[in-house]
């Protein structure tokens, strides 16, 4: 689709044909079309971000609540009963509430925060800006994808208020537990709402993913070949490919589960006797089938989460290291290898389900091989830092932190992926430590990295750096203090998802450690309010941008005006002549992608105005004056 046609088709009323220079200022937009039902990819990106932040806050608070139980099983917190009523008896959260909290914590963190909030935000915000497009291929579909996500959020939230409580069978929702309301109260109405919410979320992801893919493939500006795209765009593009190919399988799994729940089928159910209810009529189903369908998405899902983070980190690290990303094509190839292998490793979550040992051995092989592209990426990041000239902006700090936690969490994947070790550590705290570091904390760091880096582009203002520094150091130290000791608990065999360990001879030696971890959780969670305050305060009160290109970046998004309208570039879309990583080349600190090859020394292209580092006086006023 033609770049200009997009805006006309998507926002026909907003655009005066043949007058692109003024186009975005002619928008006669009400508050509703500008901020709520907006079709501007930037606004939709911000909507994803803010919804994601709200969910992160809720999900994080849930972890504080259940860590209170784990850390202080003998202490009563009367205020808990005040806040959550009968879910906390005598100041202790009940087992039922505990399992609901862990379940919903997992679900919202992985789907709503790290998929919706991370890739939703940056795919929307960055793709058109970085490839030189006026908007997404279908702005309408893009808007719908957000509103499906929003509806999914509301339904998930509503499950907190049903009588039998939200779903409590773990974020993986394995049947028969998730299929039988008699097996767990959370599997009654709460599970129906959970399924409805996630099905809408899948729809949202498919709408969004198709859009990202078609935009990247079809709407790149002149000269922007695939191998000239910033790695951040590569990251979100490849995660969209993963999502589009794997989410439908999860959808199918959910549909079968709904049939088993309500229409008497036996896809997953067989030979079940529930105490107090009796034998159920189901025969011939297989509970493991669901696990295959679930993990066929479930494993690619972790790469859906981490690929955008990897891309963002690469871009931010290169920009602030003033050095090209090392091995650009190796970076792209390794991401590509991850995409392919991601589809072939799902059953490593199921080594102890009694699967065929030969099948298991194939999954061991492929699982350990997926460590190779990840290793390549880590070595490339290290080499990017080597002999750089590093500016520690908050974004850069989180990029470095990302590499650190990704190494720590990634290496433990070699233990868990090897079935002979997995048989001991499966479903223990070792797994919790592994995946929280490698895809929880790492993806969060990628998200923080992106927010700090692109905040000026989003809102035309700076965030406070000092708060950013404190936020980073507290979070990095906190994350290690929380998750590092968990490896030891896991190696001692301490199982996940236990409400109380005090009656277990084998695990009760960790009482003090659990308390220590819980205290670290509370402090680290509290530190996130520094970010929250910084983010929301800076939207309105942050220091205004005085230059277009505050980080002296090469990428295309910084050639747009400080306050970008719908349509992104007031004039023609710039043409691209080179890759985005020409930093410190031939004595030039940076060479934007728009500079033609061989013209690096041409004063026209080195001027402060062209590179975007010219200080614009009173940017807001100048902006309105020009178009008055």
């Amino acid at each position: 689709m033609n770049n200009e046609a997009v805006l006309q088709a998507g926002a026909a009323t907003l655009h005066v044909a043949g007058d692109h220079g003024e186009a975005h200022h002619h928008h006669k937009q009400s508050f509703i079309t500008k901020y709520i039902f907006s079709q501007d990819h930037k606004t939709i990106g911000k909507q994803f971000l803010i919804t994601g932040i709200i969910w992160a806050l809720i999900g994080g608070f849930m972890s504080v609540l259940f860590r209170l139980q784990l850390g202080f099983p003998d202490t009563s917190f009367p205020w808990l009963s005040t806040v959550i009523g009968h879910w906390a008896k005598d100041g202790h959260i009940t087992a039922e509430a505990y399992y609901s909290l862990t379940t919903i914590h997992g679900t919202v963190m992985i789907f709503f925060v790290l998929t919706g909030g991370l890739s939703g935000t940056f795919a929307n915000f960055l793709i058109p800006l970085q490839i030189g497009a006026r908007d997404m291929a279908s702005p309408l579909m893009n808007m719908l994808s957000y509103w499906f996500f929003f509806t999914a959020s509301v339904i998930m939230l509503s499950s907190f208020f049903v009588e039998t409580g939200p779903f409590a069978g773990g974020w993986t929702a394995y049947p028969p537990l998730s299929a039988l309301g008699d097996a767990s109260p959370g599997s009654k109405t709460g599970m129906d709402l959970w399924l409805a919410s996630l099905i809408l979320f899948v729809v949202s992801q498919l709408l969004a993913g198709l859009n990202y893919i078609s935009t990247v493939l079809n709407m790149r500006t002149k000269g922007m070949s695939m191998m000239r795209m910033p790695l951040s765009t590569w990251g979100v593009f490849l995660q969209a490919v993963l999502g589009v190919l794997s989410f439908p399988v999860l959808f199918a799994g959910f549909i079968l589960l709904i049939f088993d729940r309500h229409f008497g089928t036996s896809f997953y159910l067989s030979d079940i006797y529930i105490q107090g209810v009796g034998a159920l009529p189901h025969e011939g189903g297989n509970a493991i089938l669901y696990q295959h369908l679930f993990w066929f998405l479930g494993h690619p899902e972790v790469y859906i989460v981490i690929l955008p983070a990897m891309g963002i980190v690469s871009e931010v690290m290169s920009t602030n290291g003033r050095k090209p990303i090392f091995g650009y094509s190796a970076m792209v190839m390794s991401m590509f290898a991850i995409v392919v292998l991601a589809f072939l490793v799902w059953a490593h979550h199921m080594f102890v389900t009694g699967m065929n040992p030969f099948l298991g051995s194939i999954f061991v092989l492929l699982t350990l091989l997926i460590a190779v592209p990840s290793a390549i990426k880590v070595f490339n990041w290290l080499t990017t830092l080597w002999k750089g000239n590093l500016r520690f902006t908050p974004g850069m700090l989180f990029a470095i932190g990302f590499v650190s936690v990704f190494i720590s969490g990634g290496l433990t994947g070699i233990y868990t992926g090897n079935s002979a070790i997995d048989i001991h550590i499966h479903d223990t705290y070792f797994i919790i430590a592994h995946f929280h570091l490698v895809m929880g904390v790492a993806a969060f760091f990628g998200m923080f990295c992106g927010v700090y880096h692109w905040f000026p582009k989003m809102y035309g203002r700076h965030m406070n750096n000092t708060l950013g520094y404190i936020h980073f150091w507290v979070t990095l130290v906190g994350a290690y203090l929380i998750f590092w000791p968990m490896h030891y608990e896991g190696l001692a065999g301490m199982p996940r998802r236990y409400y109380d360990y005090s009656s277990w001879e084998s695990f009760k030696q960790f009482v003090e450690l659990n308390r220590f971890i819980s205290i670290c959780v509370i402090i680290t969670f509290a530190a996130q309010f520094l970010f929250l305050f910084n983010f929301f305060h800076s939207i309105f009160k942050g220091r205004k941008l005085t230059v277009k290109n505050p980080w002296k970046s090469n990428a295309l998004e910084w050639t747009t005006p400080i306050n970008v309208g719908h349509g992104n570039w007031p004039g023609e879309i710039p043409e691209v002549h080179r890759w985005p990583y020409d930093y410190s080349k031939d004595g030039h600190d940076f060479i934007p992608q728009t500079v033609p090859v061989g013209e690096e020394d041409n004063p026209l292209y080195t001027s402060a105005e062209f590179t975007g580092i010219k200080v614009e006086e009173e940017p807001a006023k100048a902006h309105t004056k020009a178009h008055a």
Binding site: P176, N286, I325, G327, F392, S408
Partner: protein, 371 residues
């Protein structure tokens, strides 16, 4: 509580004031100047974090290592392979871990912004890429080969002569069935489960026309013990694993073994206990040491309490314990229990042993028929 909250808010206010102040300072001093200053601070913090982190790793290990089960090692012979593979993996990943983390934070510190330094334009180097693609691949392949050898041993057939125990999980407890004297597990069916009549596993004790079942005599001497599993030291044991309701998991942390219990899909697992419970208490110096079976798959609100005890004993002790057990059949049908019939048939002293022999003969034919 109040003071904690107050202290928290105080800290927050102080941090915000500092943040605000730095913003004013940067306006006064110029952005460039304050950037250089904060960059230096962050650069130093990188190296501080690295050093404190390494000390922390050492200290954490010193504190927590004794609380794991690695000091006394695996309690099963096969589990030793898990430990061995774990140590190999730990050494290899440990080298990578320390090398990359040290390089990461050292580079961050060493190459922090200096006004007159030019970054080195170094976009790619094929030799380096090839090295760090092929070396990890080779190392990983070695680990795969090592791991799979153990994997095929664990998942392969149990050695001949292994004792068999059927493990059944339900919300929220464990039942253990021993085949009894005939060495054969009688048939069972989930629709026959009837806890009110002591048939907790659904053994087919009686003819049932509705379900088209004939009583299986092999069930008559099966022994069911709830909550405790007895194993014999140095005797391989094969667990036949079932679940009655939702997915559970037989987690045996001390033996380094684990297998899901799936309703409708039986699974199995075998290992050889190395030390009796008594021996382990001496080795660890912990008089309360207990082998525990933990459910490792979320199975409902009582998941955390789904515990069973494993007693590893010597063969003599085992024989004594088993001799005291009564087949579950007699719990449901006390009138068929020979020991109950004894007083009534006291006049005919040969009747009871006769009945027992007849019962045993019936089992033997049933066992033969099943084979």
């Amino acid at each position: 509580m109040f003071f904690t909250v107050a202290a928290f808010f105080l800290i927050v206010i102080v941090i915000f004031q500092i943040a605000k102040a730095t913003e004013y300072v940067s306006v006064l001093k110029g952005e460039e100047q304050s950037f250089k200053q904060s960059n230096k601070v962050n650069g130093v913090l990188m190296i501080v974090f690295l050093i404190l982190g390494l000390i922390g790793v050492y200290w954490c290990n010193k504190l927590l290592y004794p609380r794991m089960t690695f000091r006394e090692g695996s309690a099963s012979i096969e589990g030793e392979q898990v430990d061995k593979l774990f140590w190999i993996t730990l050494i290899l990943t440990g080298i990578v871990f320390f090398a990359t983390q040290i390089l990461l934070f050292w580079f961050a510190f060493r190459y922090q912004y200096k006004e007159n330094r030019k970054a080195f334009y170094f976009p790619h180097n094929n030799t380096m890429e090839i090295i760090w693609t092929s070396v990890p691949t080779i190392v990983l392949l070695i680990m795969i080969v090592y791991g799979l050898r153990s994997w095929f041993l664990f998942t392969g057939d149990a050695p001949k002569g292994a004792m068999q125990i059927e493990v059944t999980g339900h919300q929220f407890g464990w039942e253990f069935r021993y085949p009894g004297e005939d060495g054969v597990f009688g048939k069972k069916y989930f629709k026959d489960i009837d806890p009110a009549n002591s048939n907790t596993l659904g053994l087919i004790w009686q003819d049932n026309a509705a379900l088209k079942q004939k009583a299986d005599p092999a069930t008559f001497d099966d022994i069911i013990i709830s909550g405790t599993m007895y194993l014999v030291k140095n005797k391989p044991v094969e667990l036949l694993i079932n679940s009655q309701d939702v997915i559970h998991d037989v987690g045996l942390p001390q033996f380094r073994m684990k297998m899901d219990a799936v309703p409708g899909t039986p699974t199995r697992l075998w290992f050889t206990p190395k030390y009796t419970t008594e021996e382990m208490r001496k080795i660890t110096g912990n008089p309360h040491y207990t082998y525990e079976l933990a459910c490792d798959q979320l199975c409902g609100n009582g998941h955390y309490s789904m515990r069973a005890v494993i007693e590893v004993v010597t063969q003599q002790e085992y024989d004594v314990i088993m001799a005291k057990q009564k087949p579950a059949y007699f719990r449901a049908f006390p009138d068929k229990d020979p020991s109950n019939q004894q007083p009534a048939a006291a006049t005919d002293s040969t009747a009871a042993p006769g009945a027992a022999t007849a019962l045993r003969a019936a089992h033997d034919t049933a066992a033969l028929a099943l084979r």
